[in-house]
């Protein structure tokens, strides 16, 4: 059986692991409380830009060395940034534990070289341009900006071309020193892990982290001014788009309380891609390309998204279908039969995912970083199985009765 272990170093850095000696692999990840919601206007996009720069060399390794050594360890390694955190992770064979710990830990003290900063700025601008070409053409970001305001949770993770072009390496260094302090970081590991070896190694390697201090103090954002490159209209005109893209955003459960399980089940019953109420009415019939909904959980609040993609001429009638289905679930709840079917499907999904240590890692690290909590697979399954019709109804009434905000991207009308 998997076993939970944890340790807190004198610096405040927390280490957690779910170990299972039967695993063929081990996964390791640094989870840092540094996301777009922690940024001010002049820092917009900095958490994510910094994530890229963490691969660009340390006192002991050049950028080339970092990439080469990651590949030498043969596993899967990468990083991502969200509104609330930045995560650096790798999955390798257990025999490479010490080498991957050494490498990832060293990467967490980057040199932030000016020349590399300039090259990487171009890559980030390309990344922004790439997403501009992909459906729904920035409409999710717009929905978050309108719902949460363009600051806090509504701040774009990638920043804007304007904010990235204006960024300086000095400002990045300061941000790094403010956010990458040991008390803001959890190191998580899963699978075939030697936990004691991990703790001993990390303790020595991270002794210098406590001295991180920021120099620059930025003035608070002016709420009466929009950040550079931000617009707040709820219509996006897209040249040549074949489909119309409609996003609705409202409130939803946070990732903290048990309500989130009912929220996830409700979203599956309503909007899952195979066999949900939206599916039978809109996808199976060919009325829409996409008709789905999901709760987007954050540590202290949540959003509820409904996403519809179809031919522009069918948009209004399809929206009426969706609204009727939502109104119906708010009024009448769900049947016991569909709830049990969805619970069976969801619990099987969790069980299947848990076979790979790499899929356990993210829940483990994220939960410990945000709440200092651990949930075993069996605890999670128990919580899902405990959801009843009343709990689903309560979530539906609480979050789906209110009128959501709609954001739409479609071709400019001639």
């Amino acid at each position: 059986m998997p076993e939970f272990k944890h340790a807190t170093l004198p610096s405040g850095l927390r280490i957690v692991a779910e170990t299972d000696p039967r695993s063929y692999s081990m996964s390791l990840g640094y989870f840092v409380r540094a996301g777009s919601r922690n940024e001010l206007d002049p820092q917009s996009g900095l958490s994510h830009f910094l994530e890229h720069m963490m691969f660009k060399g340390t006192a002991r390794r050049s950028a080339e060395d970092v990439n080469r050594e990651l590949d030498e360890l043969g596993g899967q390694s990468n990083a991502y940034t969200t509104e609330e955190q930045t995560v650096y992770y790798a999955t390798v064979l257990p025999k490479f534990q010490d080498r991957i710990v050494d490498l990832l830990t060293d990467m967490m003290t980057p040199t932030l070289d000016e020349q590399e900063f300039e090259t990487e700025r171009q890559v980030i601008l390309e990344e922004i341009a790439k997403y501009e070409d992909q459906p729904p053409f920035g409409a999710f970001e717009r929905a978050m900006e309108i719902h949460f305001s363009p600051r806090g949770l509504g701040r774009r993770v990638l920043g804007t071309s304007e904010s990235i072009e204006a960024m300086t390496a000095d400002r990045m260094r300061d941000y790094f020193h403010t956010r990458y302090r040991p008390e803001n970081i959890v190191l998580a590991a899963s699978g075939n892990v030697d936990f004691d070896g991990l703790v001993a190694m990390v303790q020595t390697a991270t002794e210098g982290w406590s001295g991180r201090r920021a120099a620059e103090s930025l003035v608070p954002d002016d709420p009466d001014q929009l950040p550079a490159g931000i617009e707040l209209g709820n219509r996006l005109a897209i040249a040549d788009a074949m489909q119309a893209y409609s996003i609705e955003i409202g409130n939803g459960p946070s990732s903290e309380g048990d309500e989130r399980y009912a929220g996830r089940l409700l979203a599956t019953i309503l909007g899952d891609e195979g066999g949900s109420r939206f599916f039978w009415d809109l996808i199976d019939t060919g009325r829409a390309e996409v008709a789905t909904c999901w709760p987007q959980e954050f540590s202290d609040c949540g959003a509820w998204f409904t996403y519809l993609v179809c031919s522009p001429g069918d948009l209004e009638s399809n929206r009426r279908f969706l609204h009727d289905l939502v109104a119906n679930v708010v009024r009448n709840g769900v049947t016991e039969e569909e709830l049990q079917q969805t619970i069976n499907k969801m619990t099987a999904g969790y069980i299947m995912q848990s076979e790979r240590p790499s899929s356990r890692l993210f829940g483990l690290g994220n939960r410990y970083l945000m709440y200092g909590q651990y949930l075993s697979l069996d605890q999670t399954l128990e919580k899902i199985r405990a959801v009843d019709q009343a709990a689903i109804s309560a979530v539906a009434k609480r979050y789906l009765a209110a009128e959501p905000t709609e954001i739409r991207a479609q071709m400019t009308s001639p």
Partner: protein, 425 residues
């Protein structure tokens, strides 16, 4: 006929049923799940030329009710069994696969025997299935990366082997219920079919069960695949996009060819990982793009290397030039350390494959399709281990990439060097 392939990671049992269905089972008793892949010779290459999209349409229609189950009953049964399922038509085959908690396996298998053997093919749902497929076509139109990749594939293998599985608006509009029934009757049978199972199962019991479910299925002859007929060319699709999207392809050998791994290692050095040449030299050193990659693709009788790069228009020409140059110069300065890194990567992924029944079932199916036999992990591991840098270099020196098919989408076309597209292999 039963044969066994011994392997430390689990004995693979291969049994060919009398009707021609190849059954491969690999028990992985350390897992909680089981998975299967069922592939039938009812792919895109079996469609009549003018009925593009028919294989996908039939794949969709067989799942709209089968045996005693309506369309909705099927989904309810699958959900209750906890099945994570997928299906789709590729060039040569149509595949149905699922992973699930091991205790669901018996019932799942019976359900899929109903789907492929006793589908209702309800004529009154043809219109819905058609609209559903048209939605997919519309989606591709809005996704530039998919558009260029779909087009370059068509140019690479030619209109017969290279066309997408989604059809066209016109071909879909013309498909009839009779087309669906005829394609189903002619191509859904045991001949040339492959059913692979991996995970927490007992091989003997599973093979017996498969015999009961599929042993008396009819068998038709399987036709040889059409020949590839692609040509070197450059095509530009004008679009008012933020980036210029570049897709390229050149001919190469398919999986199953004796030199395959020497070739594959070269593409690994070019594009697998963050220290690979394309990632390092196009993205990391020059900052030209966010995405750049190349990978191998195999059909039974043809293969190719496909690649993609996305970059803003003012830097697109340089991106194309640098990318092609890296490919052309691949053999000139290969280093042992590059090959060593690629080997560790493959070794690791082979070991980690043992954590997933579905990826193992998928590998068994593609191995059997391409090689005609099971490839145990140890054998593959030995082949990779014994590859030398000389073999990789020799392959790429004697098979210089050429005959490029290039597609760009963006505000402006690019200049494609003629000698590149005219170079023969």
């Amino acid at each position: 006929m039963t044969s066994f392939t011994e392997s430390a990671s689990g004995r693979i049992t291969t049994q060919i049923l009398d009707n021609g269905m190849a059954v491969l089972v690999q028990p992985m008793p350390w897992l909680r799940t089981a998975a299967f892949t069922l592939s039938l010779r009812a792919g895109v290459e079996d469609e009549p030329l003018e009925k593009s999209g028919l294989a996908s349409m039939v794949c969709e229609m067989v799942q709209r009710g089968a045996g005693h189950h309506s369309s909705r009953d099927l989904v309810a049964a699958q959900d209750n069994l906890g099945m994570d399922r997928n299906s789709g038509a590729s060039t040569a085959t149509v595949s149905f696969g699922a992973a699930m908690p091991a205790e669901s396996f018996d019932q799942a298998l019976r359900l899929y025997a109903d789907i492929v053997r006793r589908p209702h093919l309800p004529a009154d749902q043809l219109g819905d299935a058609r609209l559903m497929m048209m939605q997919e076509l519309r989606a591709i139109e809005d996704e530039p990366t998919q558009r260029v990749m779909r087009r370059v594939r068509e140019l690479h293998y030619g209109p017969r082997l290279g066309r997408g599985n989604q059809g066209t608006m016109d071909s879909l509009a013309a498909l009839s219920s009779l087309d669906v029934q005829e394609f189903y009757r002619d191509h859904y049978h045991a001949g040339g079919s492959i059913l692979t199972v991996a995970g927490r199962v007992d091989a003997k019991a599973v093979i017996e069960q498969i015999g009961e479910a599929f042993g008396d299925w009819k068998s038709n002859a399987v036709e040889a695949p059409p020949e590839p007929e692609g040509v070197a060319t450059y095509e530009h699709l004008p679009a008012d996009s933020s980036q210029t999207h570049i897709a390229f392809a050149f001919p190469n050998i398919p999986y199953g060819h004796p030199d395959y791994f020497a070739m594959r290692a070269g593409i690994g050095i070019l594009s697998d990982g963050m220290s690979s040449r394309l990632f390092d030299r196009v993205r990391e050193k020059r900052g030209l793009c966010y995405t750049v990659s190349a990978s191998c693709h195999s059909l039974k009788n043809a293969g190719g290397v496909f690649g993609y790069a996305g970059t803003t228009p003012q830097r697109a020409q340089e991106t194309l030039d640098v990318t092609l140059q890296e490919i052309q110069n691949l053999a000139d300065d290969l280093e042992q350390s590059e090959l060593d890194r690629w080997k560790v990567r493959i070794e690791s992924s082979l070991i980690m494959e043992q954590e997933s029944s579905s990826s193992r079932a998928g590998s068994l199916a593609s191995d059997y399709f391409q090689l005609g036999r099971a490839m145990p992990t140890e054998e593959l591991s030995r082949i990779i281990e014994s590859l030398t840098l000389e073999q990789v270099r020799d392959y790429w020196r004697t098979h210089r990439p050429g005959q490029y098919r290039i597609v760009t989408l963006g505000p402006q076309p690019l200049t494609v060097p003629m000698e590149t597209s005219a170079t023969s292999r």
